[in-house]
């Protein structure tokens, strides 16, 4: 083949690789840079390199506040994840399987929560809780986060249940399954990857949420709120940097672990990788 043709054929592929590389660089470059500077023996994030140190890490985790905030965030995220997955799956089942007046309107309300800025929801929560004279605490944070997170689960699970052929359910009942047996033996194994995806998203949303936690939180801080509060003094920057690096690393490990688990479940369920990609993007549609 003449060289010219080979070149024009390779061009689209090369261009797309370059584009993706650029996008990744813009997305993760600064993050990696910060992680790198968390080992720099200087309070200012800039070159020249002053020498390798782990003192920011020991400082970060010797302050009780940082550790407390992480524990708080983990607790909140755990409750929010469980509550959202349970509530969201139930809502998705109702919205996709039952026929009732106002069904589309109700589905729309769930979707609307996903597009309202968290800032507004946070301020709304603050006004609401002060109106009913509830003490702001981790409880109020958890409640508000459930409100904003479970519609995400509804979106992911609805996509899964719509893809799920109703004739599979009918076949199970036809072969003598009760509703519970049908859910247990037929529906659950099929939607397990979507449940795992919902859990990943719900956990990440809760853990990373700043706005709602900031406005509806009391004296006990979640991790993002703690970061915000200590960043007011620029000398704390390397400490935040170190703590964030640890958190980001841990999250990366958890998400990758769950991703592999989902892949395994999906294979067991007889699905292919395309189906898995659809599950992961289900919430985005």
């Amino acid at each position: 083949m003449p060289l010219r043709y080979r070149f024009t054929r390779a061009l689209p592929k090369a261009a797309s690789v370059a584009l993706v590389a650029f996008a990744l660089l813009v997305l993760f470059g600064p993050v990696l840079l910060l992680a790198l500077f968390s080992f720099n023996d200087s309070a200012i994030i800039s070159l020249p390199w002053e020498g390798f140190t782990t003192r920011w890490y020991s400082e970060a985790f010797s302050s009780g506040e940082a550790l407390d905030s992480i524990v708080n965030s983990l607790n909140v995220a755990a409750i929010v994840t469980v509550a959202s997955v349970v509530l969201g799956s139930m809502a998705a089942w109702g919205l996709t399987r039952l026929r009732f007046a106002g069904r589309t309107a109700l589905a729309g309300v769930h979707g609307a929560v996903l597009v309202v800025p968290w800032l507004i929801i946070g301020v709304g929560g603050l006004i609401f809780f002060s109106q009913i004279e509830w003490q702001l605490s981790l409880t109020t944070v958890t409640l508000m986060q459930i409100v904003t997170t479970f519609p995400l689960v509804v979106a992911v699970m609805s996509a899964a249940l719509v893809r799920f052929s109703p004739s599979l359910e009918e076949a199970a009942v036809d072969l003598g399954a009760s509703q519970l047996q049908m859910l247990r033996h037929v529906v659950l194994p099929q939607v397990a990857p979507s449940l795992a995806a919902s859990a990943i998203f719900a956990f990440a949303w809760s853990f990373n949420n700043f706005e709602i936690s900031f406005f509806t939180g009391g004296f006990q801080q979640t991790f993002p709120v703690w970061v915000f509060s200590v960043l007011r003094h620029s000398t704390n920057l390397p400490i935040v940097n170190a703590a964030s690096t640890v958190i980001a690393g841990a999250q990366l490990l958890i998400v990758f672990g769950l991703w592999w688990a989902m892949k395994l479940m999906n294979r067991r369920g007889g699905g292919d990788d395309v189906a898995l990609a659809e599950i992961m993007t289900g919430g985005m549609r």
């Binding site: 052929s165 009918e170 076949a171 009942v173 036809d174 072969l175 003598g176 047996q181 369920g269």
Partner: protein
């Protein structure tokens, strides 16, 4: 087929809003019968099947299964099993697990379960595939798993909802014969829904032709084909010519339309003296080209409008002297038919017995022949 009915439908209707999906359907399906519900899409055949299975609740009427009224019984408690159009195999289970699903739920002892699963898998010729998942099977194999999964429960009747629709033509033909063989081997009552008239004719003991929610005719394949009860049935089953015959003469149990020059169209007298025009159907393969006028024969002049080679037959569209179009199938056993070019003037004819008058317009006319046919078959 026996005289006892496995499934009895009485005045079964289903209304969706303003539309009647099924309109007082009355059917008796015999024990061990291969019974087809045939009709175009939207004719109510699937709705009727789903009411037998219990997935749709009838608006009125009743479903009796093996002598027991099951109209309001949940589908999980009915002794019928269904083969779905998309097979509805559980993708996360192997072939063996799919087949064993029903037996496991009804707590059949392990040894018996294994034995029955193995036996049914052998009878649908799927040995060696027990450990595969549905995604690793071909369309025909999935079809057989769906069949095995239903049959292993030894249902009183097997309900099949267009089970061959997703297969290609060659496989469909093979599966038709195989289905029929399995049905005869197991002696299970099959209720088969299809829109494919050829499929219904190939496999069924009896066929119910449905249109607009109503049953138009219930008869065996031969009768439905040769003696359609209504114009709809004549038109839907196979290619058929619907001709209108003006009654000029009545003599010796026949009616005749004189067309001049010795040409005439004759049909058996339907016996309704007041009618001056009757509709008759003529099957394309019964028509001969180049016949001479003679007693007991319809003979008309026509001009070839179209000549299409269909493989084993040549299809001729002939414009008759009455202005009507007649489809003729000539067997390609010699070169004769293919030489008839468009524009050629020919004479066409068919024997008296092949003019079949349709009970049109007369009160109860549509039902008459079908009832008679049904009684004949059951007796």
């Amino acid at each position: 087929m026996s005289e006892r009915a496995m499934i009895e439908l009485r005045g079964l209707s289903k209304r969706y809003g303003d539309a009647l999906a099924a309109d007082s359907v009355n059917l008796d399906i015999g024990v061990g019968e291969f019974f087809s519900l045939l009709g175009p899409s939207g004719c109510g055949k699937t709705t009727t099947l789903r009411m037998i299975a219990g997935f749709e609740e009838p608006t009125s009427g009743s479903v009796t299964l093996d002598g027991e009224d099951v109209t309001w019984v949940s589908p999980r408690r009915r002794k019928v099993n269904m083969v779905f159009q998309d097979y509805a195999l559980f993708p996360h289970m192997t072939v063996a697990e799919n087949v064993a699903f029903g037996l496991k739920l009804s707590k059949v002892p392990k040894a018996e379960l294994r034995e029955r699963v193995a036996r049914i898998i052998a009878s649908v010729r799927l040995e060696g595939y027990e450990g595969r998942r549905p995604a690793q099977l071909s369309g025909g194999q999935r079809q057989r798993v769906a069949l095995a999964r239903a049959l292993v429960n030894e249902p009183a009747a097997l309900l099949l909802d267009e089970p061959l629709g997703a297969l290609d033509l060659k496989l469909r033909k093979e599966m038709q014969l195989e289905l029929k063989a399995i049905q005869q081997r197991t002696g299970t009552t099959f209720v088969y829904v299809t829109h494919d008239q050829e499929e219904a004719l190939t496999m069924s003991d009896r066929i119910a032709v449905m249109n607009g929610g109503r049953v138009e005719q219930v008869d065996d394949a031969r009768t439905v084909y040769d003696r359609p009860a209504t114009e709809f049935v004549a038109d839907f089953i196979g290619t058929s010519n619907l001709l209108s015959l003006r009654v000029d003469r009545r003599e010796g149990g026949t009616v005749a339309m004189d067309l001049g020059g010795g040409m005439s169209m004759v049909a058996p007298d339907p016996g309704e003296v007041e009618r001056t025009t009757i509709s008759i159907t003529v099957r394309p393969e019964k028509v001969r080209v180049g016949v001479e006028p003679g007693p007991g024969w319809s003979c008309l002049r026509g001009r070839i409008a179209q000549n299409v080679f269909l493989g084993s037959v040549t299809q001729l569209i002939v414009e008759l002297q009455t202005g009507e179009m007649l489809t003729v199938h000539e067997l390609n056993d010699d070169e004769g038919a293919t030489r008839l070019a468009p524009g050629a003037v020919v004479s066409v004819g068919w024997a008296l017995a092949h003019s079949y008058p349709i009970g049109q317009g007369a009160p109860g006319g549509a039902v008459g022949p079908s009832r008679a046919g049904q009684a004949e078959v059951i007796a």
